[in-house]
Structures are given as C-alpha cells and as structure tokens.
C-alpha cells in the first residue's frame, strides 16, 4: 500500500449556524489522482481551502505530508507551501506581472537558480501546459479564460510540487479544451509522479482522470472509492450525480 499523504479526519465546518461539513473524513494516497465531488454548494471548495490552510474549521484534524494543521511551526508551513501548489478556479494570475514573470516568481523567491535557468524552466513549463509561444509576454488581462488556466497550471507546476490541488480545472473551457486539459493533467501527474487533488463535477474528468474520489452529499462523505466501486454502490444520489444509466 502506498503512503497516505493527506488525512482528513472528522472535520466539522460551520459558517455561523450553517453547517457545511459534519464530521467528514477522507484520505489521499501518494501518487494517486483524487477527486472531491459534490453538487454546487456542497462544500467541495471549502474542504480544499481547509486543506491548503486558507480556511479554518471548527473541529477534527487534517494531516498533510505528515504535518498536522494547527500544530505546525512557521517553517513547516513554508516547507508545505513549497511542496504543494494550487490551481485556482480562475487562474489567479498576478495581474501586474506578465505570463513569464507569473510562472517564474516562485523560482525567483525560493531558489538561487541563475536567471537564464529560471526563464528556461518557466518557458518549458509553459510549453508543458500547452500555452502558445505568442502568449509568453502577455499580461493576464490580455489572455482568454483557457489561456489563463494553462498559464496558471504552468505556475502551479514550476516548483515540481509533491501535491497539486486543482479547483475545477475544466470549468469554463470548451469540451475539446476540457478533454485536452484532462489528458494533460493525467500525463503530467504520471510523469512527474504527482499526487493530485481535483475538485470537480466534470463527468469526463471523473471517468478518465480520477483514480479515486469522494462524494460530499448532505454535509457528509457519502462515498469514497473508485469509479467501479461507485457503480456497485446503490444510492440514488450517486447514480444521479454520476449519471449512471
């Protein structure tokens, strides 16, 4: 069995009186592509934000790469942040920097590589993410939605993270673009041996990319496992969600 890199245990989240998660537990194994699924407003993104230290939760524990949230020193959190990266839903590129600078900035801040090497790595990651050469020196406001996503993926990959978090990577892309993006993610994850956590409700992604997934339904984890296991699981919500015939 491969090692567990993210362990969420009995996490409860409330916004005021509104309960979002009620004691949910999931675990993500090393090297797998894991999906967090659920309908709109089910708290998928909230769970992702809790894992990446952007959101507080009321009770329970989250352990990531052997570090427990809430018991980490500052240097631990920095170490973690160098070893994971996040692709936000709308790219979240820095609007004052051009594409190349956006991709280079983690390397500039965290390594002592010579400038030419940084540029070379950044350009290569941009190619890997499938961004056209012509877009290299454009600013985020001049990019289309799909190009923004690709540039943001390049930025997410530039530090060779151990874990890659993707928040709805295919939303806002055309079907062909989304499919290509799925293939790209799968290819990169296999080649670079990444652990990938994807928040999604794209059926194509679920079918072709994910190794394992969980479904958040009615504040709880309704299901965790592979697609084949889900097919055997007889719950109308799952059948409806995954559109099984």
């Amino acid at each position: 069995m491969s090692e567990i890199v993210i362990k969420v245990k009995d996490v409860t989240t409330k916004f005021g009186k509104h309960v979002v998660h009620d004691k949910i537990s999931i675990d993500v194994k090393e090297g797998e592509i894991y999906g967090i699924l659920g309908g709109s407003g089910s708290g998928k993104t909230t769970l992702l934000r809790e894992i990446i230290l952007l959101q507080k939760f009321q009770s329970g524990s989250i352990e990531i790469l052997g570090k427990k949230i809430g018991q980490m020193s500052y240097s631990d959190t920095i170490w973690l942040k160098k070893n994971w990266s996040v692709l936000f839903q709308f790219g979240a590129l820095y609007s004052s920097l051009n594409v190349l600078e956006n991709v280079s900035i983690p390397l500039i801040e965290y390594t002592n590589l010579p400038k030419e090497v940084i540029t070379e790595i950044a350009l290569s990651k941009l190619k890997m993410a499938g961004l056209k050469k012509e877009a290299t020196y454009l600013f985020p406001s001049e990019l289309s939605g799909g190009m923004k996503k690709r540039a943001a993926l390049a930025r997410a990959l530039v530090m060779d993270p151990k874990i890659l978090f993707l928040d709805e990577p295919t939303s806002g892309l055309d079907p062909v673009g989304a499919e290509n993006f799925d293939i790209l993610i799968k290819e990169i994850a296999t080649l670079l041996k990444l652990t990938v956590v994807i928040v999604t409700h794209d059926l194509h992604t679920i079918e072709h990319v994910l190794d394992r997934f969980c479904i958040i339904y009615d504040k709880k984890i309704l299901f965790q496992g592979t697609l084949d296991e889900a097919k055997k699981f007889k719950h109308y919500a799952i059948r409806e969600f995954l559109k099984f015939k």
Partner: protein, 374 residues
C-alpha cells in the same frame, strides 16, 4: 552534493555527473555548463553513472545542453542513466522551449520615450472622447428621467446622500474647525499689532463663507467620495455587473451615476454650510482666547459685516463642486478595464482630477464674479 567534471580530449569530451542535479545544486555548476555549451566537440559523452537524484530543472539543463550539442552536429552519447531519469529527460526534452524561439518585444532606448509620449497623447484623446460620450449618455438619460421621473432611483440617491454626505460630516467638521483656528491664529497676531482686533471677525467669516469652507469641504469630499465611486463602479465593471445590468436593460447611468451625482448636488451645499459654521466657530474660539473678543461681540460684528451675498456665493459654488466630483468619480470608474491594478490607477486619477477641477472651477467662479462686480 554534486560533481560535474569535464574531461576534454581534442575533439571529444566526457562529462561526468554524479550526486544530485536539482534546483538546489544547479547554481554551483552553471558556469561550467555555460562554458562547455560554447565549445565544439565531435563526440560528447555524458556519464551519469553516479547521478542519484535528478529533478525537472536538472533534466531541463541536460536536455538544453544536449540540444545545443546536437545543433552543432556533434553526437551525444549518454551512458549510465537509470530509466526513471531517462523518462524525465525525455519529458524535459519534449518540453524544451529556448528563449531564442520566443520573440520578446524589446523597446529601443531612444525611440521608447517618443513612442510613450505618442501613446499618452492618443490615450488622453481617447479618454476625452470617452468622457464626452459618457457626458452625452448621462445627459440623455437625465432628460429621459425628466420625462419619466418615477423611474429615478430615489432610494439609491438617499443612500448616497447618507454615505457621501452625512457620514462625511465628522471629518469635514474636524478639517474646517482646524482651518478656522489656523486662519484666526495667523491673523490675530498681525491684527493685534494695529490694535485692529475686531477685524478678525471680518477676516474669518468672510473668507470662510466665501472661499475656505466650500473649498475645504469639496477637497474632503473629493478624497472621500470620488475615490469610492471610482472603486465601486470599477469593481462592478471587472466583475461584469455593469454588463449584466446592460443586458437586462437596466441603464448603468440611471442606476449608478445619476443617484451619485444628485446625491452630491444635494449634499454639497449642506456640507458647505455645515463647514461654514464649524470653521467660524474655530475662529471665534481663537478670537476669544487670543484677542479677548467675546462670542456675542463676534456674532454681532459678523451680522454687520458679512453680507448675505458672501454666504450665498459660497453655497452657490457647492453644487458645481458636487457635480464635478461625482461626474469624475463615476467616469473614471467606467474607464476601469481588465485587471485589479487598473482600479487602483483610476482611483488615484479620479481623486487627483476631482481636486484639480474643483480648484479650477473655484478660480473660474471667482474671476467671473469679480468681473461682473459681485
């Protein structure tokens, strides 16, 4: 950590790499790589037997090196690389994109300033044309509203009167009070020399009513409301709320601009009158403490020397200032495009513009009033 040895023999070289070739170690060997890249060999052997750690950055360096050898038609032989590293190498090689392949638009040192100047001129012309069209659209919508007054957004106007008027009173009070005190202080000393103590009343009240209070109030409101109008409308533009309104047939001018303009048109005279009173109160305080003029003496004298027209002139300016501030604030908000950065830029521009045009307007009114002898 890393050993990177180069053995050169005539037209052949052997590169021996051992240890870790990763982001952390590349810097130390990079000069060597750069040097060897420029040379020519018939055969380049890369010995990776001792290599025990390779990340993407390292693989990319090797891929780039072998690509530059291949370009010069040397044959590259890689030995002893484990299959895992080979896969990363292949992947890096596939994704290699050299800087020379990417065209960067470089600015010419001498021509750049001229290009920039040209761009600025074109931008200001564009901006002026946009302002005219904004003004035109606003006027058009205003006349439409005149025909259908029940469509005017009274509630929004009231909200803006509260936000930009009522809530600004404390800061307006503080500023005009302090300015009143300062004017009184400065003149008290001079007037005492001539024994003309009582003239402080004329000094403070006439200057306050006619010039100082309207200007101070306008500057505070410009800093407060022009900026918030620009930021509010600019953010709505970026989040496509303005487009959403347009697509639903809600005129942004009617919903956003007219309420703000009317709010300041109504609020400004009231704020100015408030500033008048507080400023003169500041003067009174100093007159009492420094020149021994009692409050009642001050007020009686003020009634005698301050003509109603002085007060009215000050109040007459206020709506113009309000109109300027609100129009500039809204207009700059509509100019925001694309990035969050541009919100900041246009907010700054809007405050600077608003204050500038308030002062220009004040000067114009002064000149005109003096010419016609009021």
């Amino acid at each position: 950590m890393i050993n990177f040895d180069i053995i050169e023999e005539d037209k052949q070289c052997t590169i021996k790499i051992s240890g870790k070739l990763t982001k952390e170690t590349i810097r130390s060997i990079y000069p060597k790589i750069k040097r060897i890249k420029e040379k020519f060999f018939l055969i380049a052997k890369v010995d990776c037997v001792g290599l025990n750690s390779l990340d993407y950055a390292g693989a990319l360096i090797l891929a780039d090196l072998s690509a530059s050898f291949c370009e010069k038609k040397s044959s590259v032989i890689v030995i002893g690389m484990n299959p895992n590293f080979k896969r990363i190498m292949l992947f890096a090689r596939k994704n290699l994109r050299q800087k020379s392949q990417v065209v960067e638009i470089k600015e010419n040192f001498f021509v750049a300033p001229i290009i920039k100047m040209g761009k600025n001129i074109v931008d200001s012309i564009d901006s002026f044309v946009f302002f005219l069209s904004f003004l035109g659209e606003s006027s058009l919508q205003f006349f439409r509203i005149l025909l259908t007054p029940w469509k005017f957004r009274y509630k929004a106007t009231a909200v803006h009167i509260q936000k930009s008027g009522a809530l600004a009173l404390p800061i307006v009070a503080l500023t005009s009070f302090l300015v009143g005190v300062v004017i009184a202080f400065q003149s008290a000393e001079q007037l005492a020399k001539f024994g003309a103590n009582i003239f402080i009343v004329d000094m403070v009240s006439i200057s306050m009513f006619r010039e100082i209070a309207p200007l101070i109030a306008a500057i505070v409101i410009a800093g407060r409301s022009a900026s918030s109008y620009t930021a509010e409308i600019g953010t709505m533009k970026i989040t496509e709320e303005i487009d959403a309104m347009r697509s639903m047939g809600f005129e942004p001018i009617v919903f956003l601009v007219l309420p703000r303009i009317f709010a300041l048109l109504i609020a400004m005279p009231l704020i100015v009158f408030f500033a008048d009173m507080i400023g003169i109160a500041g003067g009174m305080l100093v007159a009492k403490s420094n020149l021994g003029i009692s409050y009642s003496e001050f007020i009686v004298r003020a009634r005698d020397v301050v003509a109603t027209k002085q007060v009215l002139i000050g109040l007459f300016k206020a709506p113009f200032f309000g109109l300027l501030i609100a129009t500039i604030g809204c207009f700059r908000g509509f100019q925001v495009t694309g990035s969050t950065e541009s919100i900041g830029r246009y907010t700054t521009i809007s405050v600077v513009n608003a204050i500038f045009w308030v002062i220009v307007c004040d000067a114009l009114i002064s000149v005109v009033l003096t010419e016609i002898g009021i």
